[in-house]
Structures are given as structure tokens and as C-alpha cells.
Amino acid sequence: MNLNRTWRSVFMTAAGIYMVSLVLGLSVHSATPDKGTADSLNVPESYVQEIQAMKTISVEDAYSNYTSNTAVFVDTRDNAEYREGHIKGAINIPYDKFQQDYPKFKSLLLKNKKIITYCHGTGCGLSVDVAKDLGKRGFTDVYVMTEGWPGWINANLPIAVGREP
């Protein structure tokens, strides 16, 4: 009887911890303003669902592919942002210019390498859109680097400015 009471108190304490955490977690989440950055919690539901259907890659693994030259990086932000700074060697295919830019870069994409798309980081769907467009063209080894450009620069990895290649 006493034993049961002890265990009941253990379960109640654990349940209490989860309840308080739920309240705190939701309160902090709702109080966090949408900064529109990688650290924003306001990730749209549609993005969450889309990213679950995609193959994703971390900055660290993407960098391994970068050093071994086994991937083509596709910057899906607009031309001006790309020119301001991008992953060294990345090509620029803005999501809204895929149809017109694809023929230009087709030969680079067809090099039997992994294709890694990126944009503004968590919550940014441009890289997902381009990855889907590439999938429709028959590319299967396409990955979305979800941490995006902010993740790459935060890790102090090689970048370039201006136009290339």
C-alpha cells in the first residue's frame, strides 16, 4: 500500500515536470518574435511537412562533400543575395528562375555528383522548391541543407562574392 503510494508520487512528479515544461515551452514559443532568421521558432507548417519529405544534409556533411568535391551546391536565393556572398563554387538558381536558368547549368548538374540546395536557413522553402524541381527533372541525389547560408557562414566555411563560376 505504502509502496504504491511512493510510486504514485513518482509518477505524479514526472507528470508534473512534463506539464510545467509544456506550459513553459508553449509560453516561450508564443513570446518569441518572428525574427525571420534560422533561429526563429515560427517555422511554417507547410515547410515542416515539405522538409520531412526531402533528403536533408547538415552543414558538416555538406562541407565533407565540399572538400571531397563530390557535390554541386545550388544557391536558391536571388541573384543579388548570391552576389553578396555564397558558398564558394555554388551555382545560383533562384527558385523563381528555375525554368530559365536550368539549361544554363544543366551540364554542371549532370556530373553525377550529389546536389545540395540551400537558401536562408531553417524555415526557408526556396531550397526545397528547387530540390523538388530537380527531382522532377530526374535527379535523385538531391539534398536540402536546412541550416542554409546562415549555418554555412556561422561555421566559418569557404565563401565567395560576386558571380561564379
Binding site: 505524479m12 515536470i17 512534463y18 514559443h29 536546412t146
Partner: protein
């Protein structure tokens, strides 16, 4: 001789439990701090594990660091230790299952365990072993009756 060894272990056990309690509490508080610093990265990591449906994945990411910080603090302060151990045990089981599933899928990804001090650990056997050891420790706590230097034992003695 044998009797002496048993006596020594019995004397040592409360001290070992105390050290483990403090260490594990500190580990979870540090882990929670890193997660609270980078909430967006945590949401992204939980989504990348690709186990929970979207809404639940986000909810898990919001709640996780708070469970770690509250339960970790309770271990250190010594209040509701067994309840805190149960809540951490459930978390550890979820980590172990999630990591094992993704290792089975052949996915290479960041674990997001300690998003602090520039640590970018990737899921793998080492993390599975570490989490399993933590799980063993919390299970030991769950079946321990008396904790030295704890509010729990102080209150229990007062009730007796």
C-alpha cells in the same frame, strides 16, 4: 575479509549516487541551455529525425529543454529525485529509439544533443552507448530509497 568489502561498498554507495546525481543533473542543464540558445536549430533537428509528425515534432522541441532543465535542477537540489529520474528516463528512451531508427535508415545527421561549446556531434554508436549509460543511472535512481544531501531524504526523515 568479504564482510569488510561489503561494508565498504555499502558505505561508498550513497557517495557514488550523490556524485552521479550532481553530474547527471549538470549534464542535462548544460544540454538544455544549448537547446534554449538555439531554438530554431532544435526544431530543425527534431524534424530531421523524421519520426514524429510535423506538429508533434515542433511540440517536442519546445518542451524538451524545459524537461531537461527542470529535472536536472531537481536532481541537483535533491527534490523529487525519483520523479525527475522517471521523466529523464522517458526522454532518454525516446533519444535512444530515435537515434537507433535513423542509424538503421543509414542517415548521417547531427544529434543536437549538446548545441553548445561548438559541439556538433553526429548520431552513432558512441551516443547510443552514452545515452544507455545515462538511462542505467536514472533507473538506479528510480530504485534508490535514500539520497544523501537531498531535500527528499530530509523530508522523509521528518515524516518518520
Amino acid at each position: 575479509m568479504e564482510r569488510k568489502c561489503i561494508l565498504n561498498f555499502a558505505m561508498l554507495k550513497p557517495a557514488v549516487i550523490l556524485v552521479l546525481r550532481m553530474a547527471l543533473g549538470a549534464v542535462f542543464i548544460i544540454a538544455a541551455y544549448g537547446k534554449l540558445l538555439h531554438p530554431g536549430a532544435l526544431v530543425s533537428t527534431v524534424i530531421n529525425f523524421n519520426i514524429l509528425p510535423a506538429g508533434l515534432a515542433k511540440l517536442f522541441a519546445y518542451v524538451l529543454p524545459w524537461v531537461e532543465i527542470i529535472a536536472g535542477s531537481m536532481l541537483i537540489v535533491g527534490i523529487g529525485i525519483r520523479g525527475a529520474s522517471l521523466s529523464l528516463g522517458l526522454l532518454l528512451v525516446s533519444f535512444i529509439v530515435a537515434i537507433a531508427i535513423n542509424m538503421h535508415r543509414g542517415v548521417s545527421m547531427e544529434c543536437g544533443c549538446f548545441d553548445i561549446f561548438g559541439m556538433n556531434e553526429k548520431i552513432g554508436s558512441a551516443i547510443l552507448v552514452r545515452d544507455s549509460l545515462f538511462l542505467v543511472v536514472v533507473i538506479v535512481f528510480l530504485f534508490t530509497r535514500d539520497f544523501v544531501l537531498s531535500i527528499d531524504s530530509y523530508l522523509e526523515k521528518r515524516v518518520r
